[in-house]
């Protein structure tokens, strides 16, 4: 584990300092289903914070709250001093220009080539000379190992390649905050290593704050400064990776060892299995 490369951060310490993102009392229900019931969370500046949790707990939803794509039912979300649910559209767009977002499903623009996809944020907001733009885009593509694929269309890429292009697009403007929603999905071990290095380099050399939503504990432990474990609409655990991985609470023990039984439900809420199969009467 190369976790020792990161400065150790105690989470008590983090909450006190001026965080980039501060979430208090977040409550959300989608279509009548409660997703969050009172989430408090801080993302410190210049660190890599991992958000982990079972599938369907609302990690992506949380990211959508942070970027103002979805307004919460209650609670406040302050990003870089601005309450994202309150600020106007122009201010929100101004904020988003400083955020790089890697979508869980890549969301590449299918009309444009790989090159144009990565160049898109630059073209839209900066009037760069074509030469400079080309250099920036090729540099980012080189970083994800796809410089040679610059002229392909998204439909000609594999799933893992698409994720890397989406990653290049998310980092192309060297933003203040990068949100990686499951960056490791579909990556082979070699690419995974490179992407890990890339995320760490961006964080260490440019001081970019990073939020990492991922399931791969081993990978997360190598780069994250702290981990929030989200389960059942609440923060189930929070701390440094090694601390959590020791599995001292029932939540962390179950989650990191992958057991089916425990406080974290594997099943989506459902009526009783036997009842639904019509066996209820047979077993009184």
């Amino acid at each position: 584990m190369s976790a020792s490369a990161n400065p150790r951060v105690s989470h008590d310490d983090v909450t006190v300092r001026d965080p980039l993102i501060r979430i208090r009392g977040l409550r959300t229900a989608l279509n009548g289903k409660t997703i969050f019931e009172g989430v408090d969370l801080d993302i410190p500046r210049g660190r890599i914070t991992a958000i982990m949790g079972p599938s369907g707990t609302g990690k992506t939803t949380l990211m959508r709250h942070i970027t103002g794509q979805l307004a919460p039912d209650a609670g406040e979300i302050v990003v870089d001093g601005a309450n994202v649910a309150r600020i106007g559209r122009d201010a929100l767009f101004g904020l988003r220009e400083k955020i790089g977002y890697l979508f869980q499903n890549s969301a590449l623009l299918t009309d444009y080539s790989v090159f144009e996809n990565v160049a898109f944020p630059l073209r839209q907001h900066l009037k760069l000379p074509e030469e400079l733009l080309r250099n920036i885009v090729l540099t980012k593509l080189q970083a994800v190992g796809l410089r040679g694929a610059a002229n392909l269309m998204p439909s000609e890429l594999s799933g893992g390649m698409m994720r890397r292009v989406a990653l290049a697009r998310a980092i192309v403007r060297d933003p203040m905050l990068i949100i990686y929603d499951e960056p490791f999905v579909g990556l082979d071990p070699i690419a995974l290593n490179q992407i890990l290095k890339l995320i760490r380099t961006l964080n260490q050399t440019l001081g970019i704050t990073s939020i990492l939503v991922a399931h791969e504990l081993a990978a997360v432990r190598r780069i994250a400064d702290s981990i929030y474990l989200l389960a059942g609409g609440k923060i189930a655990a929070h701390g440094a990776p090694d601390e959590l991985a020791r599995g001292e609470t029932p939540w962390t023990r179950q989650f990191f060892s992958g057991e089916a039984d425990g406080p974290v439900p594997f099943h989506y809420p459902a009526p009783d299995y036997a009842v639904q199969l019509g066996l209820a009467g047979a077993a009184p």
Binding site: Y101, F103, A107, T110
Partner: protein, 256 residues
């Protein structure tokens, strides 16, 4: 109970759709100034909805003109009025058939592809991705298509009309032996630029706006599933056709 309750809710649904569509129109209009920054996008869309529709428009225009020539020649010859063939063909094309048939073809050719394209962009999070890159999809995706429709429709209708006249000429003069001079001089003495040709152009402008409004609205609000996109595409054709004919009636009543 469900039988009793269904019709009112259907009606309410349709009214809600129309209302939402109207609000969407204002949102597009609000995004139009911003979309002027993406002029290149508009140019690209004019190519897609306009230039790419040329083949079907020209073919259909030619055939509609030929059919009109044949039918009207037959009918007019009963009254000994075949000399008026050019006039009747031109008037019916310019005022009604040109704009209306072009709009119906446009809804089928360009409207559906706009709906499917935007619907798919919605389903694959591309619209959300644009929002996240601080690009307003209304200004970048919807408004250029809307403008392109308004630009392309009158031009397509003019091409349709020109081919229609050519078709009628082919049938009436070349095939059935009507006098060439009579064909044209009758037409030129009774067709007026403003009350006939331009009336059709105004209609086309309105049809272009309505058809692309419906197409973009259906695409933008479609449920992000393949079934949703399929239904949205169908609705585009149905609603565009109804709206075109209804607006045609209203405009004819006011412009006559």
């Amino acid at each position: 109970m469900s039988i009793v309750r269904k019709p009112p809710s259907r009606l309410a649904d349709s009214l809600a759709q129309i209302g939402a569509c109207g609000i969407f129109l204002f949102r597009i209009l609000g995004a139009v100034p911003l979309s002027l920054r993406y002029l290149r996008e508009t140019v690209r869309q004019v190519y897609f909805v306009g230039a790419m529709s040329l083949v079907i428009i020209m073919t259909c225009g030619l055939f509609v003109g030929m059919v009109l020539g044949l039918q009207l020649y037959h009918t007019l010859s009963i009254f000994g009025g075949t000399a008026a063939l050019g006039t009747v063909v031109a008037l019916s094309l310019y005022r009604e058939l040109g704009p209306v048939v072009t709009a119906l073809l446009f809804a089928g050719r360009a409207g559906t592809s706009i709906t499917a394209e935007i619907g798919l962009m919605r389903a694959t999070d591309q619209l959300d991705a644009m929002e996240m890159m601080a690009v307003d999809p209304l200004a970048y995706v919807v408004a250029p298509r809307f403008l392109a429709g308004i630009i392309a429709m009158p031009l397509l209708a003019c091409v349709f009309n020109a081919l229609g006249i050519l078709g009628a000429h082919l049938v009436g003069v070349v095939w059935l032996g009507l006098d060439n001079g009579t064909f044209w001089s009758n037409m030129t003495s009774s067709v007026d630029v403003w009350s006939d040709v331009m009336t059709g152009v105004w209609k086309s402008l309105a049809f272009g706006a309505v058809c692309t409004l419906i197409a973009t609205f259906q695409g933008y609000t479609t449920p992000p599933t393949s079934e949703g996109v399929a239904y949205a595409t169908t609705r585009t054709v149905v609603f565009s056709s109804i709206a075109t004919l209804a607006i045609d009636f209203v405009m004819t009543a006011f412009l006559m």
